[in-house]
Symmetry: C2
Subunit: 711 residues, 2 copies
């Protein structure tokens, strides 16, 4: 390839980033032009914004402490030669961008929530959908902006820096990818805090508010007399928007960087070495472009049936948008691979095709288990007739069952991508194929985030409708919007979980290859080295431990919320007080803050301790064990929670609120909440962060282990 051709490839991520940014700003300003609604709506929206900001500020403080401690540790590692210095600024930008994305996402959501309520009131479902969707699209595109910029920027800096210093292109590229692979840790740590902290926050508030409000006091969802409602709505923003976005950013960036590393290994020393490293960024830029096209088509279609929008029409439109994105990515991936690596390597396109289709399939499986049109959710709502325990037992049962098909899909795509890329004769090429599948799957992120973030916005707008005592028709409209959001968000979540598994696999392979590059002799044979088995076992246990820590934190905080809500609601219903929503914000903010400290420390300490005790091979096993059991747990929890949530909604839609069946289904929903929105999504990050920490400390661990056991 000519040097101008290469230069063009190198700036593609910036082009994708810039286009995404411009459109994100355009969309945000479009929303700002809409009316924020009545004074009371503005007031509630402001309260949600204030609560969200207060929480994020607290969160940022805890993150800053961790940041300083980790930066000092990494600094020491740089000093002793265990890490290269560019890892330090990259760590800072990763963490900073992630936090920024969280803040901006929260701002967009809280800016648009009352506008959606007002549009629902004044103009109906179509316009409400339009605003919510535009706001979410702005969020999704901003994520694309950051992901493409962050990876493109550091690649180019390092490429220039090491390309200048060294004459041997292989050696210089090895430096580049070896440093790049340590880069995702900032985004990963930030994502972990945002996701788990936000998850604890949102569900502690939700569980408490729902139980006292709906079950004990017989109030409707978001009733204005329930003072815990504001905290609940804040939770939607900090957990489902902020946390979700940080999580996706981390996945995407992680997949890109791992693929760059594996691409270098596969094409080491060939003409296509640099191209293979750039390819994942080009495919990702293609994903951003495909998302933009789909977003425009949806906006166009939605604007045309403003008057006669229905839930099924809007759902179908959104799903069609997803399909357009997927087809766009497939087409652009083909062109990218054709152009970047040439026709000789076109089999890698099939690997990426497998990834995209697998992501889509996993999304559909999620739908199958959580949509009330299908058997699992219908049966769960049916079992509410025999009380809360059977709801929970059936919910857990379907949740566990639901992990099977996605797991088989991941297994299938892994084997397919590996062998189609020629892995049986060229192992490294097989790995590159598998990780390209992850990148292709994740390139749908801007669109997936759009249809995912849009749910919490709809949820918030419904909260505002209820709290401002709008006529029931307004709440009904926002509930319809929420229903569309639930369906599409389920698919989006499925894609993210599926891609997390493959990304973690790519990261694990990258770690393994990294220690191989260090000339450490590693046998990862389960049956011939008990240390490998010990590492695997530890890995399998981790998701259980983390789930326990997270849902335990939610359970304890929810206890406090319930007790406070009971007291306040009693006074409010008796007319003695107006309630103190801030008390709840304080309770859950503290719980979230405390809840992230222990997992945050453990996630860093465990890979290092395992590494020192069991060696680099044990760490590889740890990564794989965490990945496998974390994947199963993630899907189990997401779908158990989703199905119980929708079973409850089904009962409510059928007008059976207030019955004993409804109470039983609320218990199910409440049990499912911390599973699906706190622990489940955190698994995604856990499985990747373990690899990332291992990569960051690889040289140190190999050295310490060698010194400790081989003297």
């Amino acid at each position: 390839m000519s040097s101008s051709g290469l230069l063009f490839l190198r700036i593609i991520p910036f082009i994708g980033s810039a286009i995404s940014l411009i459109l994100a700003i355009v969309f945000a300003s479009l929303i700002r032009k809409k009316s924020r609604g009545t004074d009371r709506m503005k007031e509630i929206s402001d309260a949600i914004f204030a609560g969200s900001r207060a929480y994020l500020n607290q969160q940022a403080k805890v993150m800053f402490i961790f940041f300083v401690v980790l930066l000092a540790l990494f600094g020491l590692m740089v000093y002793f030669g265990y890490l290269k210095w560019p890892s330090l600024p990259a760590f800072a930008t990763g963490m900073g961008f992630s936090l920024l994305i969280g803040y901006i996402g929260m701002w967009i959501s809280t800016t648009s929530n009352s506008r959606v309520t007002y549009a629902a009131k004044e103009k109906g479902l179509g316009e409400a959908m339009n605003i919510a969707f535009t706001a979410a699209a702005s969020s999704g595109l901003l994520l694309g902006t950051v992901a493409l910029f962050d990876t493109g920027f550091w690649f180019n800096i390092l490429y220039w820096y090491y390309g200048r210093a060294s004459v041997n292109p292989v050696e210089s590229m090895q430096n580049v990818v070896n440093i790049l692979i340590t880069f995702t840790i900032g985004a990963s740590f930030a994502a972990f805090f945002m996701r788990t902290g936000g998850g604890i926050y949102t569900k502690a508030a939700d569980m408490g508010a729902d139980y006292v409000g709906k079950v004990e006091s017989g109030l409707a969802e978001d009733d204005y007399r329930n003072p815990a409602t504001i905290a609940d709505n804040v939770g939607d923003n900090v957990g489902d928007v902020g946390g979700m976005k940080a999580d996706s950013l981390e996945s995407w960036v992680g997949a890109i960087i791992a693929t760059e590393f594996l691409g270098f290994l596969a094409f080491k020393g060939t003409q296509l070495m640099v191209n293979s490293v750039i390819l994942p960024m080009v495919i990702s830029a293609g994903g951003a472009l495909a998302s933009i096209i789909a977003i425009f088509i949806i906006k166009l279609v939605v604007s045309r049936y403003k008057e006669n929008a229905t839930v099924s029409k809007l759902t179908a439109t959104t799903l069609a948008g997803l399909l357009i994105t997927v087809i766009g990515i497939i087409g652009l991936s083909f062109l990218s691979i054709r152009y970047v690596l040439g026709l000789a390597n076109i089999r890698l396109f099939f690997a990426s095709l497998g990834g995209v289709l697998a992501g889509f399939l996993i999304g559909l499986f999620t739908l199958l288990y959580t949509d009330s049109r299908y058997r699992p959710t219908r049966n769960i709502s049916e079992s509410a007739k025999s009380g809360p325990a059977t709801v929970v037992v059936n919910g857990l049962a379907y949740g566990m069952e639901s992990a099977l098909l996605p797991a088989l899909t991941v297994i299938a795509v892994m084997l397919f991508s590996f062998f189609i890329s020629g892995g049986s004769s060229d192992f490294k090429m097989g790995l590159y194929g598998v990780s390209l599948a992850a990148v292709a799957m994740l390139s749908v992120t801007p669109f997936a985030i759009t249809i995912d973030v849009y749910g919490p916005i709809a949820d918030n707008s419904g909260g505002i409708a209820s709290m401002t005592e709008q006529p029931p028709i307004v709440r009904k409209t926002t509930d319809k919007l929420d229903a569309v959001g639930n369906t599409t968000a389920a698919i989006g979540k499925g894609i993210l979980i599926g891609s997390a598994a493959i990304t973690a696999l790519a990261l694990g392979q990258a770690y393994f290859s990294k220690i191989e590059l260090l000339n450490v002799n590693v046998i990862i044979d389960i049956m011939r080295d008990p240390k490998i088995l010990a590492g695997l076992f530890t890995g399998v246990m981790l998701p259980f431990l983390f789930t326990s820590l997270l849902i335990g934190a939610v359970g304890r905080a929810a206890d406090k919320v319930v007790i406070e809500a009971r007291k306040q609601i009693k006074d409010i219903l008796a007319g003695k007080s107006k309630g103190d929503p801030k008390a709840f914000i304080t309770i859950v903010t503290r719980a979230a803050q405390r809840g992230i400290i222990a997992p945050g420390i453990m996630i860093f300490v465990i890979p290092v301790v395992v590494g020192i005790l069991l060696g680099p091979g044990g760490v590889v096993a740890l990564i794989i064990g965490t990945l496998l059991s974390g994947f199963a747990q993630a899907i189990f929890m997401a779908n158990a929670g989703g199905a119980m949530d929708n079973a409850k909604k089904k009962i409510e839609e059928e007008g059976r609120s207030g019955t004993s069946e409804h109470a039983a289904s609320v218990v199910g929903d409440t049990v499912g909440d911390p599973l699906k929105d706190t622990a489940g999504p955190s698994m995604n990050i856990l499985i990747k962060l373990i690899s990332v920490v291992a990569i960051e400390t690889a040289v140190l661990i190999a050295d310490l282990y060698g010194k400790l056991w081989h003297f």
Copy 2:
């Protein structure tokens, strides 16, 4: 060793078996001399017996169909040379003994239940304890009889048969262990059916009876007006007695046989080859002896404080008995290894010591998480104040947390036993050490079963007290007995789960060694062969799938029980009807029968399909994946259920029955029931059965895989 010395070693299992049998009969006849109580007590006891027998007969029919199909398949495999013919009769005896143990255990329990009630009424806690304990000891010793006889008999038959036919002792012994290792499949299949079928039965009945009785109708546990109570009490016998015993038999026999195989590999061709194969049976006989001593001491102590027995005294006595057993096993293992393998191999004693201590430790950890004196259970009962959802969330959280320490213990004992046995220089010796740890841990089985079976007997006697409307003091006495039983059963269950993990490991290693003996080239490297990863992933998913199938079956059956109970109780309370307990027996028997078919087929099909698709290496990975995630799931579910059960009991003991807190805790208990008594214990068998099926089909799979993929 002289041939007379060897002959003595060879008959040791029979000596242990005979002593156990004689004492079991003596104990059973001691109980028969006690009064069966009032006519009403006899009537209820007879109804429970009839229900249990009816269920077991149904179960036996399903098992017979599976037996015939499998026998035919195995017959075909023998015909085509994929299996040796002695596997067929051994399969039959394994299945037959397991079923026999189930029947006799059920008979002993139902024979003693009303006697315990009557003793509690007439003579107080001490004598009630004495009867329940003696009955349970009879059950436990009978298990020892069968385990020792079955393994000793087949070893001696094969040793004689192949010793006669061949002149080369190594070759003849290789034949012996190669066939022996296929022997556990009969016991394993029977255990799977008895455990899962019984588990579905008992919990469907329990969930339904508890929910309608306690929560909806405000009746006490086992209230005579609740017609589902008989089915509930039948369930205790078929699930917690029959299933539990079949499970333990399978574990013990599996561990012995796997160790024999690994012993052969470790000492192949040496003077000690035969001795190393006999050793696990000698250690097991020592375990039976130690159990007998402990049982006698407890009986003596209990008989001395008949008048002034208290729960804490009885619990302490039982725990002291366990400690005596453990110390006895340690001493006898030392003597066995010293005598059988000589002082030069005494380091293997430390491996077995590690196993025994690990079992004891895991038992204590179980206690820590499920006893109401400690924080987890206390906190769960506390969270009942904020409703059922927080109970369940906290219960799940503590359950997941509780898997960590046992897992670390298993990891530690695995590494310790491996390296202390010299595994770093002699790999096979390390494996033998690990599996000796499992055998030593399991040698406590007769005593563990005694303190475990004794719980359901106490439970039954309480049921009879309530149903025959005895004065409250009688129920209080049986409840105390039940409380002792719960504590000791928790420890017994912990030991069984811990040992299941190590046994499965030994079985997995045996499978791996078996395919190595076939000269199949197997690399079990996770990172260098995606098929290994695919096998691991499938394995990790299996426990989720099986849990889903089992608790789903319970949930669906419980739905039916609830609906029927609601109808009947309404009529009973209105004085319109006397109720129809048989209707419940029919519902749950059918549910149990149906519930075991799909898992029963899958457990046989999955290893074969994985083997054909992914090869023998993929099967090894499948075994390990199932083991790791199954272990975590088993402990999580056992302890989550146990803690929620005891949290409810704590609230009842504190006299808060009938409050909303109590209702919340009943929901928690009911959710926990199928986890702890259906799915949890089935994991033990699942993880072993996967290995056992793999071993049985090893030659076939290696052949099919080779033919399919290498042409």
